[in-house]
Amino acid sequence: MAKTVLDFERPIVELEKKIDEMKTVMQDLEISDEIDALEAKIEELRRSVYSNLTRWQKVQLARHPDRPYTLDYLGKVFTDFTELHGDRHFGDDKAIVGGFAQLEGRTVMVIGHQKGRDTKSNLYRNFGMANPEGYRKALRMMKLAAKFGKPVITLIDTPGAYPGLEAEERGQAEAIARNLFEMAQLPVPIVVVIIGEGASGGALGIGVGDRILMLENTWYSVIAPESCSSILWRSWEFKEQAAEALRLTAPDLLEQGIIDRIVPEPMGGAHRNPSEAAMLLKTVLVEEITQLSKMKPEPLVKQRIRKFSAMGKVSE
């Protein structure tokens, strides 16, 4: 299978390949010491590479084409996923998927952006860029969860809400605004997880919740670094600087008090070991949902609004 390898991943991947070759080709020879030494070297290399990633490199990891998407997590973290479709007004947006699923025996509503893996599936999913009907479908499913008293988990992974002509005609802005307004008052727990890209209003449109989590190698900001570069620098060439300036990584947002927790990923990123990534996410989700489920709706909503009200820094 053709895997995408990012520039900074290359030395590690090459060493790993070398070990695999040695293991298979020279099975009978006495080279285990050599392999051990090489493995130690890889471990060291991994540590030095992944603990020193620039913000732009993290953006690249968040967009890695082999990274697990919402439906991958739905298969690995949850059981009995029953996908629900449509916003009951216009259509079924394929860029947002959702439905009831079980998390360790507890029924939850899971809603997330869905990207495709190749050209065909990306066109089908519109590259994870939702239209208004996607946000309205998400809201419909959240209200369904509220009706039955089930917690909501949203998984965010989008390059942005779709900036198309029909999206405007059908009220992209209204759809997102409505979700922010309604999610603030939803009387069931909401856990939000950024699993890849969290670009602007398109991400926030399913991003209001009681606990906001980010996977280790993801980004979340008001604008994508390239677009920021094109507007403020008047050129697409300053994306690295824009990524640095926006402070958009998980540790940045934790420091800013905007997210509550970072979910660890396997060494090298979720795409290097999707099953392990899913287990790490599952552990955290079970913990968070168990905690939040103890709260009554009224204090839950009050606390959620207080949480968002505290965001921002001003001087007076």
Partner: protein, 280 residues
């Protein structure tokens, strides 16, 4: 040398469009005709020849929307802390300082209490001249407090939007102001109080996708550009020209996202009538 020159004081290059210039004679950018400043003011800053709305600031707008002398400003000096220490081609901190000096505003919104035909209202208006009317932490906080004042005083809320959207230089903080203001509006809604959202030219991005679209009454001035994505971005995405009148107020009314399009000269009367009917 690039074939275009960037404007370095504002994120949108057309900030000076139809702005009221100094001096007592003014020219309408739409029709090119001249008129005296007093004539312009008497016509609520619309052209006496072609009715085009001039792009005006909050002080000028309040002059005909609110009862004479009824406005009292709140949180006037609240300002940005530059929480990310953001720098692009220049430091955000310097940009703010320069804009404060130029506009005599501390950020992109003016908020306070006022009266419309004797009825108390909590009012907020964005100022496009302050970094494109963009929403960062200060705008979000001041609007949230304006919502709280409406709840506390049991009165209507009026937010007048004119903005390029969320402010990039405060990163995720700016984004979260969308959630913050919308959450607070849900409290106003629960309190059963009216919210009139008035959208001026232009209202786009994160402002449209939060409080601007959430009015009990969504009102716009004629021809105002209102949208989520800007026309340039949409054109790039779809690879063809946009239809005439796309994203203009008349288009939004047709698509079902506005209640009313009201000419500026009738704005005070229309809003006053709505408030009166809700009271009676």
């Amino acid at each position: 040398m690039a074939w275009f020159k960037r404007s370095n004081s504002s994120i949108t290059p057309s900030a000076s469009k139809r702005e009221v210039p100094d001096g007592s004679w003014v020219k309408c950018e739409s029709c090119g005709e001249m008129m005296h400043l007093k004539q312009l003011q008497a016509a609520c800053y619309t052209c006496i020849h072609c009715d085009a709305s001039f792009r005006i600031n909050s002080r000028e707008y309040f002059s005909f929307l609110l009862d004479q002398g009824s406005f009292s400003e709140h949180d006037r000096k609240m300002r940005s802390t530059d929480p990310l220490k953001f720098t692009d081609t220049k430091r955000y901190a310097d940009r703010i300082k320069a804009t404060i000096d130029k506009t005599e505003m501390y950020d992109a919104v003016r908020t306070g209490m006022g009266k419309i035909d004797g009825r108390q209202v909590s009012v907020a208006m964005m100022d496009f001249g302050f970094i494109g009317g963009s929403m960062g932490s200060v705008v979000g906080e001041k609007i949230s407090r304006a919502i709280d004042r409406a709840i506390k005083n049991r009165c209507a809320l009026i937010i007048i939007s004119m903005s390029g959207g969320a402010r990039m230089m405060e990163g995720a903080f700016s984004l979260m102001q969308m959630a913050k203001t919308s959450a607070r509006l849900s409290q106003l809604h629960a309190a059963g109080l009216p919210y009139i959202s008035l959208m001026l030219d232009p209202t786009t991005g994160g402002v449209t996708a939060s409080f601007a679209m959430l009015g009990d009454f969504n009102i716009a001035e004629p021809k105002a550009l209102i949208g989520f994505a800007g026309p340039r971005v949409i054109k790039q995405t779809i690879g063809r020209d946009l239809p005439e009148g796309f994203q203009r107020a008349e288009f939004l009314l047709e698509k079902g996202f506005l209640d009313l399009i009201v000419p500026r000269k009738e704005m005070h009367k229309t809003i006053s009538k709505i408030l009166r009917m809700l009271d009676e």
